[in-house]
């Protein structure tokens, strides 16, 4: 009885849900805007909107579960998650070899998923887990090990071939290394190396990937092929003007001039119908969500959680940046959807799961630094 009295009485409070309300609010705003655009982009196909909403509810549920798991558990599980993810990636490649073709999916009969999505979370977790145990400044050996941990899954994903996801995985890992305190001189040195290595990388790319980069540099070279997407999406956005043509009134999107207008190119529909105002609101929402993530990273109490939080926030931002940049014709066409807005399930689940982890980091606060 006495013991019971010293322990605080359990009472349900919003705190016990472990939700970060500012983040949740921003996410809901972005999701609502996304559904609004999707309704128009799908030519008012209510079925598509309902399917997307169902997925969103599922993903939000997953987010809340992830938020309740305390961060030290994530840290404990990190090597396992990474190992299993890697094994699944290899399994997918072997199955793809047998099936003679590109294979990203693992079919478990009742459920299909892409192991590369797990890696979007597992790679920054693993990099943070590894660098957390190293003292500053990071020496070259640790840097090398961390890079291997990042690039092995990235190369496997690029071979699937899924260049977009591979780039995102690399970005997530590099964010962790950068934040962990790698020397600025090394950052500059590596940037130079990367610039010099670009021509080499060119030879590794698949033909269709090369084609995309060529098309990006000169879209007018290929107006019948990939360049057509960029030309049409620029027309859609440009014709939106300051205030847009109004919801459901975008001619380019509805006359099917704009390809992929519900998935990768959905930002063009936003630009056409809601104009500059709509575009800026969407971008600001993305920025606020990312900044909230970085704020959570700043307040994080351990190195592991800080590195992980910042990396997840940056992955979200850079995905959105690459997608919007591509739709507006300042970045090459890589198949990266606009997070939480584009139609489609898998990437959305991963992003909301990563926000679940962010919420876990922000809400599970410990009073004494005894977890390190």
């Amino acid at each position: 009885m006495i013991i019971n009295q010293t322990r605080p009485m359990y009472r349900f409070t919003p705190k016990s849900l472990h939700i970060d309300f500012p983040l949740l609010g921003l996410l809901v705003l972005l999701i609502m805007l996304g559904l609004l655009i999707l309704y128009s982009a799908s030519n008012q196909n209510i079925g598509m909107v309902l399917r997307q909403s169902l997925r969103l509810f599922l993903a939000l549920g997953i987010m809340m579960v992830f938020a309740m798991i305390p961060p030290h558990k994530y840290k404990l599980w990190t090597p396992w998650i990474f190992g299993i993810g890697l094994a699944l990636l290899i399994a997918v490649i072997i199955m793809g070899k047998i099936g003679k073709g590109a294979q990203r999916w693992l079919d478990l009969g009742f459920f299909r998923f892409q192991p590369s999505e797990i890696m979007k979370l597992a790679v920054p977790m693993m990099a943070a887990w590894y660098l957390d145990r190293k003292s500053l400044p990071i020496d070259l050996k640790s840097l090398l090990v961390a890079s291997i941990l990042i690039f092995i899954p990235a190369i496997l994903i690029a071979k699937q071939p899924d260049l977009g996801t591979a780039l995102m995985v690399i970005t997530a890992g590099v964010c962790v290394i950068f934040l962990a305190g790698i020397h600025m001189r090394i950052v500059l040195f590596l940037a130079t190396i990367a610039a010099l290595a670009a021509p080499l990388l060119w030879h590794v790319l698949h033909d269709y990937q090369k084609q995309r980069i060529i098309t990006f540099l000169k879209p007018e070279n290929d107006p019948l092929g990939t360049g057509y997407h960029i030309i049409q999406s620029k027309i859609a956005i440009g014709s939106g003007g300051a205030f847009g043509k109004g919801w459901l009134a975008g001619s380019q999107s509805h006359l099917n001039f704009l390809p992929e207008h519900a998935t990768d190119f959905i930002f063009a529909v936003n630009g056409e119908e809601f104009g500059f105002i709509g575009g800026v609101i969407l971008i600001i929402l993305v920025v606020l969500i990312s900044l909230r993530g970085l704020y959570i990273a700043r307040e994080a109490q351990t190195t592991y959680t800080r590195l992980l939080a910042a990396s997840l926030a940056m992955t979200f931002f850079l995905s959105a940046f690459v997608n919007i940049g591509m739709v507006m014709g300042i970045l090459p066409v890589v198949g990266i959807p606009l997070p939480l807005v584009s139609y489609g399930g898998t990437a959305m689940v991963t992003f909301l799961a990563s926000f679940g982890i962010l919420m876990s980091i922000s809400s599970h606060r410990i009073l004494f630094n005894n977890m390190r």
């Binding site: 019948l224 092929g225 027309i235 001039f257 104009g275 190195t303 507006m328 390190r372």
Partner: protein, 616 residues
């Protein structure tokens, strides 16, 4: 102590992390600023341009087909040309009731067939609805006039002048050039859909197929502004298509015509080739067909008729027709015997008119029942003595024969620039086990050494091997492509490809076989008497007669009494002039003896056309 260090360290680490985090914040701000600037650029500064493009008018991209490269012979005579024709086309977007319109069109122009409508529907499926799609190719002047007077009833339907493939020499070059036809679904999967967006034709056979990539060119386009009803308002930008390359072949069309005329009404093939670089000078297969009917879209009934005709006119006998080489294989077997040391030039045997394997009663007969008496190798080639080669074959065994015939290129693709080629057969015990499931018998070796039995060779392989013989073992890959001229005027040449040469212990063997082959024509007992001895040039040749049917019932009958389909095939290989060989030729005529006469006509024409220029 440890705790203290840890606290200090943490503070240092947090400081580093804090600084890096601010850098990331800065990065986010900068990148999002770039996005907003770009958005502003598109939606404010470019607003007018894009609004015009999207609101009042629509922008369309109309692909323009490149014109297909023409094909010429070595002297610049056009073999495959593009000629303008009238084509009835529909822009589906501008037709309100497509099915009704097609029905009405069919009533107006009865020449439109169901096949036409089917390929129209195919093409419609893979194009934007604003792209003009052909319904009926090659309208006659009369049909053009009929449609023109009724055009007001058909919005969205128009007559356009298009370029179509035309083969001026028609039947003469059909197997060689192949033909183009409308692209089908399978073919579309093998080419770049972008590059073929405006293309209706693709090479289906022969040179047209083999050099499809070279001949096709690169698609161009018009980026045009159209009003609501689809009329072109103005051209925004234009990318002219890059024409396909002009291909010059090694063929001499005059020689080709002589060869075709010589084979007319017969079934057979002629291949003539330049011995010193592998240039194919003439390649004819007979009977032939008119490739121009394929371009227009052959009806399935006509196609069935061609495909099932007993004469097999679609079949390229020159590269795909496989025949027993018969006695024409003897010079090559002779080289094998000399090289492998089983005989010397002076080895003599006695020929009683038959050969018997030790311990077997069956007699392998010579074509001459009375035999040739005492005979050496040279004479054995000249008179085509079977007995000599029976005993040589038995001495050598099949593997020695197989080895040398493979070196001459039999039993394998020559890799000429045609997809139709067949590899033929050089038999061996393992081949027989694999394909027939039975053992090799010594008798198989005997009949192989006189070119009967299982061995099969194409006329191309025979011409190629004869060329190698004339060049003392130097071998060139036969080819039809001479050079090409690109759209921009750049020329590139074909480099003759030299194959691995045949090297003999003694080069005198080549001379011996050549002399024996010259005697085939010149000697009184030579088998090539039908060729004639009155040529202004020297010839080394070998005749061959492939039995189609061997049976006693016809042996005594006169030639005219034997049904045509059971008459022997005749073969003829030759090179000329003997002193300094220029040309090698192989002729094959089914169920007829005229191969040597055909070869004579072609060689006469060659030397007449290539007379050394007299100095005035």
């Amino acid at each position: 102590m440890r705790l203290n260090k840890s606290v200090n360290y943490d503070r240092f680490e947090s400081h580093v992390h804090g600084f890096r985090l601010s850098l990331l914040v800065a990065l986010i701000i900068v990148l999002s600023f770039i996005l907003i600037l770009r958005l502003a650029y598109l939606q404010f500064s470019q607003y007018k341009r894009y609004a015009t493009l999207s609101l009042k008018n629509q922008m369309s991209i109309i692909p323009i087909a490149p014109s297909r490269g023409i094909i010429l012979d070595k002297n610049g005579v056009i073999l495959a040309d593009n000629i303008p024709v009238y084509v009835l086309e529909i822009v589906p977007e501008r037709v309100s009731n497509l099915a009704d319109t097609l029905q009405k069109l069919k009533k107006l122009l009865p020449s439109i067939t169901d096949d036409d409508l089917e390929s129209f529907n195919h093409a419609r499926g893979r194009n934007h609805s604003y792209v003009s799609i052909p319904v009926k190719l090659k309208l006659t002047q009369e049909e053009v006039a009929i449609f023109a007077t009724n055009q007001y009833q058909f919005p969205g339907v128009s007559i356009k002048a298009r370029l179509m493939r035309y083969y001026p020499l028609a039947e003469t070059t059909s197997h060689l050039l192949g033909y183009v036809g409308r692209i089908n679904v399978q073919e579309l999967q093998q080419v770049s859909t972008t590059n073929y967006r405006a293309t209706n034709f693709i090479g289906k056979a022969g040179i047209e197929k083999y050099y499809e990539d070279t001949l096709h060119g690169k698609v161009g386009y018009h980026q045009i502004e159209t009003d609501v009803s689809g009329r072109t308002l103005r051209v925004l930008s234009k990318q002219t298509p890059v024409s396909g390359e002009k291909i010059y072949l090694t063929i001499d069309s005059r020689l080709q015509q002589v060869a075709y005329e010589a084979l007319k009404d017969k079934r057979g093939a002629v291949v003539a080739m330049n011995v010193s670089n592998g240039d194919i000078l003439a390649m004819v297969s007979s009977p032939s067909y008119n490739p121009n009917i394929f371009v227009n879209g052959i009806s399935s009934k006509d196609y069935q008729k061609l495909a099932t005709a007993p004469d097999k006119p679609l079949y390229n006998r020159a590269v795909r027709g496989l025949y027993p080489p018969a006695s024409t294989v003897k010079p090559f077997v002779a080289i094998a015997g000399l090289e492998k040391g089983f005989i010397t030039p002076s080895t003599k045997i006695y020929d009683p008119g038959w050969y018997r394997l030790p311990g077997v009663t069956h007699k392998y007969r010579d074509w001459k029942r009375t035999g040739h008496g005492v005979i050496n190798l040279k004479r054995a080639i000249t008179v085509s003595c079977d007995t000599y080669f029976y005993q040589l074959g038995n001495k050598m065994g099949i593997s020695a024969i197989e080895d040398m015939l493979m070196q001459f290129g039999f039993g394998q693709l020559t890799h000429i620039d045609l997809h139709e080629e067949a590899p033929g057969v050089v038999p061996s015990p393992s081949w027989k086990r694999g394909s027939k499931g039975v053992h090799w018998y010594p008798g198989d070796t005997l009949i192989t050494s006189i070119g009967q039995g299982f061995m099969l060779a194409s006329p191309l392989q025979l011409a190629n091997a004869t060329a190698s013989l004339s060049q003392h073992g130097r071998r060139f890959r036969p080819h039809l492509f001479s050079h090409a001229i690109q759209d921009r005027g750049e020329t590139y040449d074909f480099k003759p490809l030299e194959e691995y040469p045949i090297q003999l212990k003694d080069n005198a063997y080549w001379g011996l076989v050549a002399e024996a082959m010259q005697n085939v024509i010149m000697s009184n007992e030579g088998t090539g008497y039908r060729f004639g001895r009155d040529t202004p040039y020297t010839v080394a040749a070998k005749t061959g007669t492939a039995q189609v049917f061997s049976g006693s019932q016809y042996e005594k009958k006169s030639y005219a009494e034997i049904p045509e389909a059971l008459r022997d095939h005749s073969l003829f290989i030759a090179f000329a002039p003997v002193e300094k060989p220029e040309i090698a030729i192989a002729v094959m005529v089914e169920n007829d003896f005229v191969a040597s006469a055909v070869a004579r006509k072609v060689l006469d024409a060659y030397f007449q056309l290539n007379q050394p220029q007299e100095i005035p």
